[in-house]
Symmetry: C2
Amino acid sequence: MSPSRPPDDKLSTTRRRFLGQGTAVGAALATGAAWAPAQAQPAPDDPSKILGNPVRPYGERSPFEQAVRTHGGKTDEVGVGSFTPLDESLGIITPSSLHYEVHRGGVPDIDPAKHRLLIHGLVDRPVVLSVEEIRRLPSTSRILFLECQGNTQKEWWRKPKGKTVQWTHGLTSCSEWTGVPLSLLLREAGIQKGATWIVAEGADASGNERSVPMAKVMNDVLVAYGQNGEAPRPENGYPLRLIVPGWTGNINVKWLRRIKVVDRPYLTRMDGTGQSVLLPDGKSRHLNFVMEAKSVITSPSGGQRLGGPGFYEIRGLAWSGRGLVRRVEVSMDAGTTWRDAGLQSPVLPFAHTRFRLDWQWDGREVVLQSRCTDETGYVQPVLADLVKVRGLNSHYFNNAIQSWKVAADGSVHNVHV
Amino acid sequence: MSPSRPPDDKLSTTRRRFLGQGTAVGAALATGAAWAPAQAQPAPDDPSKILGNPVRPYGERSPFEQAVRTHGGKTDEVGVGSFTPLDESLGIITPSSLHYEVHRGGVPDIDPAKHRLLIHGLVDRPVVLSVEEIRRLPSTSRILFLECQGNTQKEWWRKPKGKTVQWTHGLTSCSEWTGVPLSLLLREAGIQKGATWIVAEGADASGNERSVPMAKVMNDVLVAYGQNGEAPRPENGYPLRLIVPGWTGNINVKWLRRIKVVDRPYLTRMDGTGQSVLLPDGKSRHLNFVMEAKSVITSPSGGQRLGGPGFYEIRGLAWSGRGLVRRVEVSMDAGTTWRDAGLQSPVLPFAHTRFRLDWQWDGREVVLQSRCTDETGYVQPVLADLVKVRGLNSHYFNNAIQSWKVAADGSVHNVHV
């Protein structure tokens, strides 16, 4: 008996009864396929009649799976970000192959046997360490989100820009990172009096350097050599990446090769241009680090189409650079009323948190929103509140509430309300 | 200034001071590279002088990373297991591309648009569901280990067989799985009186069918369509897999296409041969499900070589099919004395748990062991205790304590003590 053949009449009848049930879930099934996957070459109608394929030493995904990162330029362009397809995301772990990334000098080829990390500056014993030396030291692993401060930046201005959640919010991802606490390396090197900051430098052609205050460094910063159980992907810093939990993406310096211990922030090029906030008076606020509480509904989301009235599970991600997500609320009326969503356990500090809420769509136009509250009590703001403080010439650090309009025909659109 | 160039004299001197320190960590650094990675083609000496590569829509690992699954037969052989390289594992997430797998009819090509799940038998409303219909229903995600009951089987007999932890313990891996509770599907179908078991069937050429008692089904079994944030790999059940937390690998039926609700275990071929335990009197114990508490040191482990006396972090994985790992102890004297290892948080039920313990090796021969205790109080046994009950003709469900001998020359070997 092959369930891949068309169902016979009896099954067809019972299927209709099942699908036509008045319960929320039964109704969900009645409306047909909602977000169809991409197509690939034909596969057998009944795979059980055919001897399958041998296993591969290092697996690949099915050719029917075609989610990809996208970026704003030409395929071979250097100097852009590529966006995680959050509309296809499941759970909290982002596949390493789909983790967002931003590079400004291309992705370097690095031989881990040649790569070194120099620690110098205000230390008693400057040192050059190999990757293998670092891998032998006491280690730790944490599931952590990263987010570019430029995530959602195009939504800052008056009109909605991104057609999909990949474009509006795809510069955030979440991995299990493994590495050595930087505090351990610095203690071994011997931190000198007056050492209050570090400058971290990457080995790529962009000359990325970022200043990090010592209090954060000694608290929870890692020198990571592992991402989701193996070495980081080249695009994400292979073989060493600085990991600064909860802080803006580019301070998590990729291809880490140098840490200089210093007595002040160095206001490097990326310290200046990489994360500054332009205020209404024309002044620029520098040294912005923390990614504040934020959330977004990943389905339904822009570009998707609901098959018709019935049951849907509203799904999304929430995160906070201050630690834990305490609460996510969902509005189905553009922010007038709110309902608590369920949070997938374990809820981890500085990690994506998956939220879900059952929803019975009656087929009328609605505007869906989500709102995150973190462990400090901070509540994700509306865009107007951000604009009040920073004006309309800003663009980084946009953590505003996102609105998706579900039209009566089931199409879903990015709107500003 | 490029840290990839040889250090100058001053640095070289200070490096020697740093490495030569009497502290545990300083000593670790003094002994040189321990477990060198595989080599690949040349990369630039200083990548910061060269424009890097463009980003790829779907990332790949660095060519310098060469960890692979291995299996017992020829490269194209069908009907074998392939083993996760646990010696290279980091944290608790196994990369999907390196997740162990066992198949007996090859890995089927399945078009998710054609694939169906039939639910029938003792239900009021039999139903055929598409993958997209299943993906729309209320979902959940959990980080869960899988382990083949044949893991470590070759160690049952008198002599140590596996030279590496990949061979002795590589039939276990851990992923974040996302799917629909099977209880929800069955409640919608309407479970009839007398329904006490299900039989789950896969769509591959092996005709894998397994019986699962209804109490487990209604408690925590999933119909999964997600693994580590994307669809499961073909080798791991694409597009649907039954996930039965804590229970033997092959009951987590891959390529799931049929669930029949029944009134007794069906004692299918795989119910019989796939997990039976042969007892000393020649009788066979059937319907064995739970993977009992187990642990293994992944480094140092067989085939590795320590560079010399000094600091090492002992690292390993522990898990229990009964829920949480409560404690992992490590012995450095073949089981005479034990020390508590640190457990990486979060410790999750039915998930791999990473343990770590600092170790100062004095250069003398030692035998390292780890021992897991789970939340029920059950303590991982020595092999002799398993043999006492099951004799020497058994082989499945070997959760015995593993011993690694570190010889005076730093080489590490599988031994039975």
